[in-house]
Amino acid sequence: MCLGIPGKVIEAYRENDLLMGKIDFSGIRKGVCLEHVPQAQPGDYVLVHVGFALSILDAEEAGRVFDFLKEMNQLEELEVPPP
């Protein structure tokens, strides 16, 4: 129920007078309501719950746990994909 899945905003449009977005989930595209994240731009990633975007994912914060691991000085040999 509290499933929140990250998806990429492709484009915004209006439907039944609501702000919607075409969101890409690794190739699957769904219409998602963007009313509560109106500032989301194409290319942004949003957290989607039951067809609603609740939050825009912050790329800088997303990398923070990997900075912490780097500080632990053991990350050099890992292949961590860039966020």
Binding site: M1, C2, L3, G4, I5, P6, K8, N16, D17, L18, F25, S26, C33, E35, H36, V37, P38, Y45, L47, H49, V50, G51, F52, L54, S55, L57, D58, A59, E61, A62, R64, V65, F66, F68, L69, M72, Q74, L75, L78, V80, P81, P83
Partner: protein
Amino acid sequence: MKYVDEYRNGDAARQLADAIARTVTRPWTIMEVCGGQTHTIVKYGIDRVLPPQVELVHGPGCPVCVTSLETIDRAHAIAALPEVTFCSFGDMLRVPGSRGDLLQLKAQGSDVRVIYSPLDAVNLAAANPTRQVVFFAIGFETTAPPNGMAVWTARKRRLTNFSVLVSHVLVPPMIEALLEAPDNRVQAILGPGHVCTVMGCGEYEPLARRYGVPIVVTGFELLDLLEGVLRTVQQLEAGRAEVENQYARAVRPEGNPASRQLIDDVFEVCDRKWRGIGLVPRSGFKLRSEYRDYDAERIFAVDNIQTQESSVCISGQVLKGLRKPHDCPAFGKQCTPQMPLGTTMVSAEGACAAYFAYGRHLETQPARRELALQNGKACD
């Protein structure tokens, strides 16, 4: 998948697990609130790779599990009405009421529909003006903005055949009730990541202060849970009791102001009965009186609800973290996902379902202390 795969890195997970082991000097009991967090813990065997002094207790953060039996029976009674098209999230369909479930009603000819988004129910109502479309609006605060928007937009579109059966539950009052209980053993909490994307973290400050428990708002992936536990034990070992935000890529301290405004416009706080736990004051949302024309509980006067729970099921104790699924004599025997006795086995987020899904009912001896990884990569 971006923002998912990188949080399942096995080597990073081992490093975090090692850091936890180096930090811990004495026993601690930590509760994760959300069913989704429980699933990740069981899936990767996080509870088994942590040092033995750290005990993870599974919280009642499964809205399907805690929807009261009266509400379930009322939903079934409404769904059985011939003029009603009853719409629900999929995971509610097999929740056992006193007599059967929604899926059985559908098999008997009732018009029960599974929907992904509450807006789907609104569109169904607009497209079928001769049907009474009722949407089963359950969930925590995370689902309140989507459910609220459905009602709000139905009113804006002047639909007269749409209504919602509301049974929202709120996390902070539930945490308070658990921490107040005389048999409480929980010393710290992994807070609800997606609830906090909506509500922010502020509601948890008074709880951390009043009860002296660290509350680390945590995400749902492997690295999120491990980092959440690490930050929690760091606080516990240092004698601190603060609110921290591990899930900062999704959670802002103030939450989502537009969502919170919509919640205020549509809902108000009320007392709520939690299945297996009992009445928790001011722990739910109901529709404001301005939206009474959309309130299915008012529109469909279904009386004589007489509830009957299974005498064997210990869901209530599992939800409060007092028992684990394998403590139940029926677990994996009379009670399975195919034939659930109670909500914690039926729900995708229930602790019993999690334990069963990852084979805990098959074990005869404790598993090796290793993360459930293959070739250094976390399994899907």
